[in-house]
Amino acid sequence: MSETVDWAGMRIDRSTAADLPQWRETVDALRTSTRPRAADALRAAHRTGRPIAQPRCGVGGHEEMLELLRRLEPAGPGMLTVTIDSYTRLKQFDRAAQALREAPADLNGYPLTVHGWRRGRQLLDAVGVPLEVRHGSPDARDLFAVALAAGFTSFEGGGIGYNVPYCKDVPFATSMEAWRQVDAVCGALADDGVIVDRELFGTLTAVLVPPSISLACTLLEAIAAVREGVRCLSIAYPQGGEVHQDVAALRSIRALAARYLPPHVAVHPVLHEFMGVFPRGRGTADALILYGGLVARLGGADKIINKTNQEAYGIPDADANALGIRTALMGTSELLDFVALDEARIDEEMSWLQREVAELVDPVLQDGDVPAGVAGAFAAGRLDVPFSASVHARSLVVPARDATGAIRYRRTGELPFSAAVRQRNDRLTDTGAGSPDRFIQAVTADINYFLTSEGVTS
């Protein structure tokens, strides 16, 4: 462990801090910057009713990263991304530096802390839209400090969503505290008139996550963030695949924010296009990307994180990513405004979904200390995430798709659901008696949902 120092209230590595400008300089640079700001882009999207699209994108080399951003911009994203490499996510800055020297093409993202804030600023200056740092780090304090010095105005992550899918053994107390410090810096900046958009990664493990689990986790992260002074939140939800449920979930983000968050906080629903096992056939993949755009618009999302038709094959090239942006945006076109859904069905979904979220969240909030409440709830299984990489989530929950494709609870594990919620899930997932083998086949089929339909649509 390297030595840490205080930087604006965050503990960061001394070596990271040594290279940064003074805090006041950072604040002044952010406040006086004429660059486009993430919060403004999101507010504009909300005003027009048309979500912006944002790709994931990050490569190791600096020139290559500049080139990538410049190649994606003409496709019309409303925001662009600097995706960070795995070494940097795990604070292995020395290994990231070594890889950058020896084989930058092998890095699966841009090592921002190694490149430093001056280069980060060059990225921001290269394009005409805001950039967000996306990573997957349970403790991103160093990365956040460098991102702020560079001038980034949007930063993804939270103590639950950036822990459960990415780490085997980081206690929630650790990750929640690291993100509390990040949020507290955002609060201080907000007091100085600088609004940093904090995006919460509701996708979790990306495998059949029941919507109420996603929304409960991001809501808890949001409440914790707002208590530290955060004023602009992007709350992401992963497309499950059933349109009424997905629209209900996106619309519930605003409803839950109205109920649990103070009105001065801007909340922007974000749709992650389907994050599960992606179809390999280009036709189906394209249609699924388009479908995501349409769902985002119908659900009132302000932003879509788009997929690409190379998703099944690994990290996409720039052309595929540009096409993914365009395809997602196609789904948001006003030409499709005639598409109407069964609003009664959506209302019913919203009602049950918000009830489930309340039943998960309210007990955690009872004691007042959100980080401690989160840690305790996960330990007891009262909060849970299926298919967790972290041993600190018990993964006793078993999800299932119902007959319509909506994601339900086949087993609720230790979740503190009411009898009514459990009965509804039982009823919707009751596929008759089945052997344990049949059971596992069914879960696998639900995971591979969009592979199954591929034979027909591509």
């Binding site: 990489a389 344990p436 596992i440």
Partner: protein, 142 residues
């Protein structure tokens, strides 16, 4: 008596989904599953067995083709008197250097007791292990 198994993914392997699917399957069959999760060093399996001495087996998944390297310490652990219960290995053992029957033989040479090609065989294999253990206890007059 509640049947118990220890489950986990080999040390270099971070594939969580298959691990959880197996855990779900075993729980459906009525097992108590101590799931050590992804990236589990062999020593952690041994420690878990010491904490749960009634475990019928240690089930290790490996999807990344590095099963042999991840299990290389098994003979040493056993020589030290640890991890003595049956070890079942499953996953994509045929990728990379393990494509051949020789690869499978090498794993057996480390002391792996059962090698699964298909996860659906696991409950049956666990039943066979219990029967063998029961027969052993009967033979020993336990």
């Amino acid at each position: 008596m509640q049947r118990l198994v220890i489950l986990g993914v080999a040390h270099s392997d971070a594939h969580a989904v298959a691990n959880h699917l197996i855990a779900m399957q075993l729980r459906e069959y009525g097992f108590t599953v101590v799931n050590l999760g992804v990236c589990t060093p062999l020593a952690d399996f041994a420690a878990a067995l010491e904490a749960n001495p009634t475990a019928e087996a240690v089930v290790i998944g490996s999807l990344n083709g590095h099963a042999y390297a991840d299990l290389a310490d098994l003979p040493a652990l056993r020589a030290a008197g640890r991890l003595r219960c049956p070890v079942v290995l499953g996953g994509n053992l045929t990728v990379g250097s393990h494509k051949s029957a020789g690869g499978i033989e090498r794993l057996r040479g480390l002391g792996v007791d059962h090698i699964l090609e298909n996860p659906f065989e696991l409950p049956m294999v666990l039943d066979l292990i219990r029967e063998a253990a029961t027969a052993g206890r009967v033979a020993a007059g336990v």
